[in-house]
């Protein structure tokens, strides 16, 4: 398994380590509920070094990204982050990634860990085919990433940087040193809380980790593992690539229509529009268990005895104290408040379709 630069720190903290897409990652340090609540109530610190970063630079960098990504990036300003989808020719989602516009003609793509190499090869092959004048560089191995998430993130991180974090808006970033090391500070995340994604060189990311732990000790900051990351993102109604979607699923079937701009050309658009015209059969929706039990990935969903779909993510929500999930269901049964049942082992357990997100922070 591959190890992040912070691996030894996780071991020293007695974390439970799991294999996440070939990476040895901490799933929890104490337990998921503690780390989840620390993040919602104060701050959680996550090792996200496993995610990928790809630099795209050159006069035609934007032309390439406009062609490979579904989102219209024409109006993106330097310092802005945009979530987008990378599709295959059939309109299926290869990855959902964020685009950082560093400067005119200079971008950083932040990819999920598992599809990173696939992303790289796909984007590279399109760049070669079209002969776009720009360079691509996979900087994942030299770039570290920490997510600091939770309502106290700003006051904790402010102790370590001169950047004025108060003025940094959501889905915007600045390039500013953290404890003296060059870094990108982005106000964004995957938890539904205020917070930051911090990028800095892999060889010093451990220093920033240590200083954040110290700076946040009084505020209740805790290191948090992938277990809490999963329950936090699910409460916030966010999808996990490879679990809630894959290359056979299009953005129209999941809550990603908003990142598709049909007014521009992009790879996969023809197939996507054909899918749209022939009618979308299934839809990813939120579900909440009304009977006793927890829906889990792979459990079947029924309506009046008829199988209508499958659970893609499911857990016990620590914030709401109930079982929630995401499920792919037949469009016909996808309206909120539709009563369904989930087959949990031998029991047909009542549940209902609900609107996403499950949890929204109070501003």
């Amino acid at each position: 398994m591959k190890k992040t630069p912070l691996y030894e720190k996780h071991v020293a903290l007695n974390a439970k380590i799991i294999d996440f897409g070939g990476w040895a990652m901490p799933v929890q340090y104490t337990n998921v509920i503690n780390e989840h609540r620390a993040t919602r109530g104060a701050a959680g610190l996550f090792d996200i070094c496993h995610m990928g970063e790809i630099e795209v630079k050159g006069p035609q960098a934007l032309d390439l990204l406009q062609l490979v990504l579904t989102r219209n990036l024409a109006d993106q300003t330097p310092g802005q982050v945009k979530l987008s989808a990378l599709l295959n020719e059939e309109g299926g989602i290869i990855d959902d990634l964020t685009v950082y516009k560093l400067d005119e003609n200079s971008y950083m793509l932040v990819t999920n860990a598992t599809p990173k190499d696939r992303d790289w090869q796909w984007i590279k092959s399109i760049q070669r085919d079209k002969g776009f004048d720009c360079s691509l560089k996979d900087i994942s191995d030299t770039m570290g990433k920490l997510d600091l998430q939770g309502p106290l993130s700003e006051e904790i991180l402010q102790k370590l940087t001169k950047a004025d974090l108060k003025t940094l808006r959501f889905y915007h970033f600045c390039e500013s040193p953290v404890i003296g090391f060059p870094a990108i500070i982005s106000r964004s995340g995957y938890t539904g809380e205020d917070g930051f994604e911090i990028y800095a060189a892999a060889d010093i990311i451990g220093n920033i980790w240590d200083e954040l732990i110290i700076a946040g000790a009084q505020s209740g900051l805790k290191p948090a593992g992938l277990g809490a990351r999963d329950t936090l993102r699910l409460e916030a109604g966010m999808m996990l690539n490879g679990q809630d979607m894959n290359e056979s699923v299009s953005p129209l079937e999941v809550p990603y229509s908003w990142i598709v701009d049909a007014h521009k050309e992009f790879v996969g658009k023809t197939a996507l529009m054909a899918r749209k015209n022939s009618g979308i059969g299934n839809k990813l929706v939120g579900i909440e268990m009304t009977g006793r039990g927890i829906a889990r990935h792979g459990y079947k969903v029924f309506h009046g005895g008829k199988e209508i779909g499958i659970v893609t993510s499911g857990t016990f929500s620590p914030t709401l104290s109930k079982a929630i999930g995401l499920a792919f269901v037949d469009m016909v049964y996808s309206a909120p408040d539709t009563q369904i049942t989930v087959a949990i082992r031998d029991t047909m357990t009542p549940a209902k379709i609900v609107k996403l997100p499950f949890y929204k922070r109070s501003k």
Binding site: N31, V32, G227, T315
Partner: protein, 132 residues
């Protein structure tokens, strides 16, 4: 660190404990080591009273936030009581695995099976070996 394993009961290799009541019935639960491994228990599925289970068959399901784990019957018999408190307070297993967090009471169909279980000392020895 796990709590000490009480010497008034027997243990299975799957981390269940069996407390023989001496009247042909026994109380069954999971060990403190098991709850520590599972961490935050958020749901317990208990069998119906009257269910007959064979040794090594699933008798209950314990779920943490992340995982779903079967609890295997360490002995054969009929379920004659279940710990209903676990329906609303599954965390009792985390708090008191050897006491308030018990799972089921069974009428043993073959008391001889008890001889195949481990003593507290043997169970602790097994845990030590597992860790290496």
């Amino acid at each position: 660190m796990s709590k000490p394993n009480p010497t008034d009961r027997l243990y299975s290799r799957d981390h269940e404990w069996v407390k023989d009541n001496g009247d042909g019935t026994a109380i069954i639960g999971i060990t403190d080591y098991a709850q520590e491994m599972l961490t935050d228990i958020v749901f317990v599925e208990l069998p119906e009273i009257g269910k007959v289970v064979a040794k090594s068959e699933p008798v209950a399901v314990v779920e943490s936030v992340k995982s779903v784990s079967d609890v295997y019957a360490p002995v054969s018999g009929e379920v004659i009581d279940v710990n209903k408190k676990l329906e609303n307070t599954p965390e009792l297993i985390n708090q008191d695995a050897f006491g308030e967090g018990w799972l089921v009471k069974m009428r043993l169909s073959d008391a001889g099976e008890l001889k195949m279980l481990l003593s507290a000392a043997d169970y602790e020895q097994m845990l030590k070996e597992e860790k290496h």
